[in-house]
Symmetry: C2
Subunit: 206 residues, 2 copies
Amino acid sequence: MSEKLTLGVAARLSTYLRILTQSRKQGLQSISSQEISEYANVNPTQVRRDLSTFGKFGKRGVGYNVDSLLNQIQGILHTGGVHSLALVGAGNLGTAIVTSSIFKDHGFGIAAVFDRDPARIGEKVGDLIIEDAANIALRCKELGVVLGVLAVPPESAQWAADQLVAGGTKIIFNYTETLLSVPEDVTIHTINPAEEMLYALYFYLT
Amino acid sequence: MSEKLTLGVAARLSTYLRILTQSRKQGLQSISSQEISEYANVNPTQVRRDLSTFGKFGKRGVGYNVDSLLNQIQGILHTGGVHSLALVGAGNLGTAIVTSSIFKDHGFGIAAVFDRDPARIGEKVGDLIIEDAANIALRCKELGVVLGVLAVPPESAQWAADQLVAGGTKIIFNYTETLLSVPEDVTIHTINPAEEMLYALYFYLT
DNA sequence: CATTTTATGAGAAAGTGTTCACAAGTCGCC
DNA sequence: GGCGACTTGTGAACACTTTCTCATAAAATG
Ligand SMILES: NC(=O)c1ccc[n+]([C@@H]2O[C@H](COP(=O)([O-])OP(=O)(O)OC[C@H]3O[C@@H](n4cnc5c(N)ncnc54)[C@H](O)[C@@H]3O)[C@@H](O)[C@H]2O)c1
Ligand SMILES: NC(=O)c1ccc[n+]([C@@H]2O[C@H](COP(=O)([O-])OP(=O)(O)OC[C@H]3O[C@@H](n4cnc5c(N)ncnc54)[C@H](O)[C@@H]3O)[C@@H](O)[C@H]2O)c1
């Protein structure tokens, strides 16, 4: 029960969670393994296998109740609560992230936004006031954030990452192409759609 | 040799390609499996195993030549050329995508940008003129694009996807949270960092 | 109320993927 | 010119994943 999940299972459960969260938002009450599998690009048997490892969540002939399955998976992944994150860079991308509900829907609240540009510091973006990037480490410690998101130009990425690390951040999502060096206990997740495009194209061409 | 790659291998090779491309950009000439593995968050043996399936690209005691390994992997994935894509939505995110080199670095050129807002049509963003979203299907056919990127508000995503499909697009990258319905021969790739955040957090908490 | 349809849950087996451990090649330095 | 540090490539063991299959259960239909 409390054994550590493998990366594959945890990643797929997260995908199911994304699909369920959005299904609920769109008003759906019940969903079948078939439907989940289509949105997740996996085999329906795999969906059922992933879920049945942890209990019997579905009803034969009916499918899964969206709300209850959502709660179950949140329980398995221990991600029911609300988590704060720090965003560095309030340019085009940063603004898009703040004004989007893509993080909020999954319980991730943006606790602070930082920028270096004096003209932007103090401005409002969404509900937040842009803070001075010089205070990243200080403010991250104050806020106790563990998650950081980088939406700065590539040449500022390493500096910004260093500030986040100094502030105690352990997981950094990097939207830039820069390869970052961080201590062993910090994990970098790179968001680069071009990478996925490369293999999407491979399977299209083959 | 020409057998189809599994998803896992193709995905990792794409990751290596991203790392190598950026390493070259940063002036590196040689790289070890250890270094690649650190940036890719995998085991060094895995890197060597993935590569050695296709030939002996490295030099013992030295590592891999960045340029030559890059060409080899491009050969394996058949992605040496330049590919055009269509971008729908010229808001904050769309502008960030156009002005970023994240796609260009990997041979993806943005062929057209579309928006619905009459005030924005005709405006310049980067080197491109924003076109009327009413012409998506028409222009995609003209340009022969197979790749589409959605950076529109969630409520417009299905409509925009339909236009891309009508224009012959086969691979759609969806930055919105909307669950899209498309024909069987079209693949949707969802860009949602929150999903990855969920399991990143799981492994951090466990 | 019996029959048909739909969809889950799980056994079992085949298929893949991952990692260890180490032999072998390369380079620089003394 | 040989020694030591480094790094690749791979056999073999192990672990995990995926899929086929079908019994079982709920709901819909007539
Ligand atoms: N991965 C993706 O999907 C994706 C998509 C689009 C853009 N991008 C990347 O995102 C990054 C940002 O793009 P953008 O269009 O928002 O750029 P932008 O220039 O509009 O915004 C960058 C912001 O960062 C601020 N900044 C610069 N240095 C800083 C520092 N040291 N500390 C804090 N703030 C700093 C700038 O003042 C600016 O406001 C780029 O690297 C781009 O390549 C990634
Ligand atoms: N996945 C991620 O990493 C990520 C990050 C940030 C934002 N987002 C998402 O990206 C989307 C766009 O965000 P944004 O901040 O750029 O929004 P935005 O409002 O700034 O831009 C949206 C643009 O789309 C245009 N548009 C609306 N309907 C259209 C249609 N039918 N056809 C063509 N164009 C249309 C609008 O005119 C506008 O210019 C949102 O859905 C947001 O949630 C995703």
